[in-house]
């Protein structure tokens, strides 16, 4: 009996069943591979750190540190179980390809024989030796500077040069991304390392760094202990270092969000499909009840089909999801040593979720059967009569296009039916719009605006220049720059800052933090999310990262050492920063820092005072690039995009999701239109009989889709703004920025993407509606 009914249904509703099956397959595929990717990346990251001997916290000491003292303190820490260390030399802009200096990432030269953290090649094998004259670089550095394996690079440190052949890519757990952590390790043979170490510029401890990878059970204890030591520069535990792989994690989250949306669309289609089937089989259900079948028996009859579709779809999705998960893992594994440690379990879990979800929801939807009585079926179950629905709209008092009227009337008469299209298309559009808004924000100056200073151009100062600047010189240099720009008819303000590492005492513990000392930055220009900017040497501004980590805030007093002993300062403002993994402190401009304590100047920021247009800004940036001796000149948005490095991957994912969204839209449009044609065969025949042309009827059907899609994309556009905020704020928050002003590409979110969805809907529904040409007016004779 069941098989007879099923086989009849499968024959009668081929398209509807096939499209539902496609959705189940896609949903199972993405759920399985999304879960697999998430388990592999999140779980695999810890494994990668373990394999690399990264320990639980990494500490960097610079300049005049005391190695014996560091290790003595480490030995005293009760939670420390062991450590590895490595000596490295840092020298910015010391790598050239031909005459071109590699700008992204500052090299940290390491001897392979003394490497504290293990390094792996692209096949996940540990690199234990490097030939003389050869070098290994990490992939992100190679990509950022366009270096290929086998290429020759020139190391140029203070005039001493030698060439190295790039042997290949290496996977480096802590130093894997120059966009997130500015230093990048260069793995050298001992002899080549000595060539660097023997350079006179490194005498007196300059540019020398000692890195400790410490295994411990309490990172806070180690962090506190290390902060007190001479030369302490930076510490980062695994939670902080994990941010280096934020993009890989973001990919997993986006995939899971896509899976969720696909499951939702599948449910919406399932509901439509069940409701449609029940309305068509109203009479049969009544007859089944009349002959004595119970509600649950009839519900089982209908649910069995969807269970079958769910099982078949989930099985196909499971197998299709395995290679997809491998492809995704491969892309994440370019920088990490990752293996699919969980096997096919996540894919199996994804498929089970889909099956249980669909069968459960199908059973829920068939609950409507309980409301039918045999009498209802016999009384109302004839063709042409309304199964259920609301009253539509009356023909208006003035002449309008009848197809347009009928379209609106249908939508208002059966709003639930059209809600299926609305929800599916709205979700499909939203996914793309949220990613577009994220990419637009990352490709704008918003990060700069929210975290630092509202400026137009960012100029990178060469490291040698940066070293030479002294406080008084720097101020004069800024004034001179402003004068020069004004003479070139570029009215602007120039801001810069000196950056150094200072020692602080907070709640009795000692810490060292990167500290920013502004130069020629008027009060109020720097951005703060809470409180006010420090206005005198007794005040200080703190990054939200430090405030949260140490549980301190505005009004609290901490001690700082400006070089002349400790001094109490009060916290007046909290700011956000995407620099230095969210940890930074700002001083007031008139803070008395002794000469020689300065660290160096990295950037000069330019704010035009005459509010030029985008084209003028571009031309001016080009002019500055050509005529001033900066290492690099970025427009503010270019700088933000470069620093995060995330806009490119998000854009790539956006276009992938756009393709998926358009496929969903096309499938839903085809499914619905085929269903409508089947359900409205009699109406179509009648309209043809009374003189409506084929084109008019096609227009009626397509217009219904166009109208609902237009509403769907408008809702999606409106929702994309708060939803981007809701979804992306935690992601940016993990980078240290929670008060980000999102930017929107108006053309994309109002015209381009909605236009594509609308265009695809019209095309798909139009092509499908041509099928109604097979219905003839003479079919009126066959109406039952």
């Amino acid at each position: 009996m069941i098989f007879h009914i099923l086989s009849k249904d499968l024959r009668r509703r081929k398209t509807m069943n096939a499209i539902l099956l496609v959705f189940v397959i896609i949903a199972a595929m993405f759920t399985g591979s999304g879960l697999s990717n998430m388990v592999s990346v999140l779980g695999g990251l810890d494994r990668f750190y373990d394999m690399s001997n990264t320990g639980n916290i990494m500490c960097i000491f610079e300049g005049n540190y005391n190695e014996n003292e560091i290790e003595r303190i480490l030995s005293k820490c009760s939670s420390v179980t062991g450590w590895n260390k490595e000596l490295g030399y840092v020298y910015p802009e010391s790598v050239k390809i031909g005459d071109e200096v590699c700008q992204t990432g500052t090299p940290l030269y390491i001897n392979i024989d003394e490497a504290g953290e293990l390094i792996f090649d692209k096949d996940n094998k540990e690199i234990t030796e490097v030939d003389e004259g050869h070098i290994y670089l990490n992939k992100a550095y190679m990509d950022a500077n366009h270096i290929s394996t086998g290429e020759v690079i020139t190391i140029d440190i203070a005039g001493k040069t030698f060439d190295l052949i790039v042997d290949g890519e290496m996977k480096d757990a802590v130093w894997g991304d120059p966009n997130m952590i500015s230093n990048t390790r260069f793995l050298l043979n001992e002899r080549d390392f000595k060539k660097i170490r023997n350079n006179k510029i490194f005498e007196n401890g300059n540019w020398k760094g000692l890195v400790y990878y410490i295994a411990c059970s309490d990172t806070n204890e180690v962090d506190r202990a290390m902060q007190d030591l001479d030369g302490f520069g930076f510490s980062g535990d695994r939670d902080m270092l994990r941010m280096i792989y934020l993009m890989d994690m973001m990919t997993s989250f986006i995939l899971l969000a896509l899976s969720g949306a696909l499951i939702l669309v599948s449910f919406v289609i399932l509901r439509f499909s069940i409701n449609f089937t029940l309305s068509e089989e109203f009479r049969e259900i009544g007859v089944l009840k009349a002959i004595g079948l119970k509600n649950n028996q009839i519900r089982r009859l209908h649910t069995v089909k969807y269970a079958g579709i769910a099982v078949i779809g989930a099985a196909i999705g499971f197998f299709a999801g395995i290679p997809l998960a491998d492809v995704l893992l491969k892309s994440a594994a370019e920088r990490m040593v990752l293996e699919n440690s969980s096997g096919i379990m996540p894919n199996i879990a994804g498929s089970i979720i889909i099956i249980v979800g669909i069968v459960g929801y199908a059973w829920h939807c068939t609950g409507k059967i309980k409301k039918f009585t045999p009498i209802d079926a016999i009384k109302f179950g004839t063709g042409g009569e309304r199964f259920s629905g609301k009253r539509g709209i009356r023909i208006p008092g003035r002449r309008i296009n009848t197809a347009v009227y009928m379209a609106f009337n249908d939508i208002l008469s059966s709003p639930v039916r059209y809600l299926t299209i609305l929800i599916s298309f709205c979700l499909s559009t939203l996914i793309v719009l949220v990613l577009d808004n994220t990419a637009a924000t990352l490709q704008s100056d918003s990060l700069m605006d929210s975290c630092l200073i509202d400026c137009d151009v960012v100029c990178e100062i060469s490291s040698e220049d940066a070293l030479d600047f002294k406080r008084r010189d720097l101020s004069k240099w800024v004034e001179k720059l402003e004068e020069q720009f004004n003479e070139e008819r570029i009215p602007c303000d120039v801001y810069t800052a000196d950056m150094m590492t200072l020692d602080y005492e907070i709640k009795g513990d000692k810490y060292s933090y990167l500290t920013v000392w502004p130069v020629d930055v008027p009060y109020g220009v720097m951005k703060y999310t809470e409180g006010t900017e420090p206005s005198n040497p007794e005040e200080i501004g703190l990054s939200s990262g430090i405030a949260a980590k140490l549980d301190i805030g505005i009004g609290d007093t901490i001690k700082v050492n400006y070089g002349k002993g400790k001094k109490d300062v009060i916290i007046t403002g909290i700011f956000e920063t995407f620099n230095n993994l969210g940890e930074c402190i700002r001083l007031s401009e008139d803070t008395p820092i002794p000469m020689g304590s300065q660290g160096g100047v990295g950037l000069a920021l330019i704010k035009y005072t005459d509010h030029p247009g985008d084209k003028d800004k571009e031309n001016r940036a080009e002019f500055i690039r050509k005529n001033y001796g900066f290492v690099k000149v970025y427009e503010a948005w270019e700088f933000c995009a470069e620093v995060t490095g995330a806009a490119g991957p998000i854009n790539a994912m956006k276009y992938l999701l756009l393709v998926i969204a358009l496929i969903i839209v096309a499938l839903v449009a085809v499914l619905m239109e085929r269903t409508f044609i089947a359900a409205e065969k009699n109406q179509i025949a009648l309209l043809k009989a009374i003189g409506f042309s084929d084109n008019k009827i096609v227009f009626w059907h397509v217009f219904r889709f166009a109208a609902v899609t237009l509403i769907a994309v408008l809702i999606a556009t409106a929702l994309s703004v708060p939803l981007t905020n809701l979804i992306m704020t935690p992601v940016f928050g993990s980078m240290g920025v929670t008060h980000l002003e999102y930017r929107y590409n108006i053309f994309n979110i109002f015209i381009f993407f909605p236009g594509l969805v609308l265009g695809m809907t019209i095309a798909a529904s139009y092509m499908t509606s041509l099928f109604m040409k097979t219905i003839k007016s003479s079919d009126m004779a066959n109406i039952e």
């Binding site: 309304r386 009374i690 042309s693 003479s778």
Partner: protein
Amino acid sequence: MANEIRMENEENVIEVRDLCKTYITNKRQLNVLRNVSFDIKAGDMVGVMGPSGSGKSTLLYSVSGMDRATAGEVRFCGRDITKLSDSKMAEIRLDEMGFIFQQMYMLKNLTVFDNVILPACQSKKLHETMKETKARGEELMRKFGIIETADNDINEVSGGQLQRACIARSMINKPRIIFADEPTGALNRSSSDEVMKELVKINNEGATIMLVTHDAKVAAKCSRVIYIVDGNIKGEFELGKFTEDEEIKDRERHLNNWLMEMGW
């Protein structure tokens, strides 16, 4: 009302010549209509009778242009409509023809009134305002005694009322001819009588009607009856115009006698 129906006395509204309709099913050729020829004059009410499967409905659909004839000619007001494109034919059906079907089929999301005036909204023939169209729709519904159902959904009215609404819809564009396929086939006797009364009335007011039926009582109200068997016209019977004061039983008796001769 009479002035709403075009009076074209002595003029042939329909001229059918050697009309053939053949279906190919399972590689078998089925000749449903074989060289059928007849005329319908303006103001005629022609009944088409015949046994089941004789080709009555096919004839009506072929003559009205709803179905393409395999061969032969159908002239509508002197114009051969068998060669017209689908869209041109749709225009003619909309503006110049009215249709009534056995199943009182209407668009389910529209009220009875909106269903009645829908063809007029689509047509540009009468160049009238929407207000005028609605006024005519109301007038027609009032005439057929269903004005109180105007705002009802179609599942809220009886079969007889619905069929009378279908007659009103068929007349909304002031057509030259109304085609009715078993208009009383799905109705009980009393509803059937009501519907036929309206059809006779509009015929007497000048409407030309071609009506397919298997009911001799219905056919007896036609001015002429064509009897069709196996796709051929076997005979025609002239009854003359039926008037309300005329005794139907005499017409029925004469018709039944003739039908028996035909082999009914």
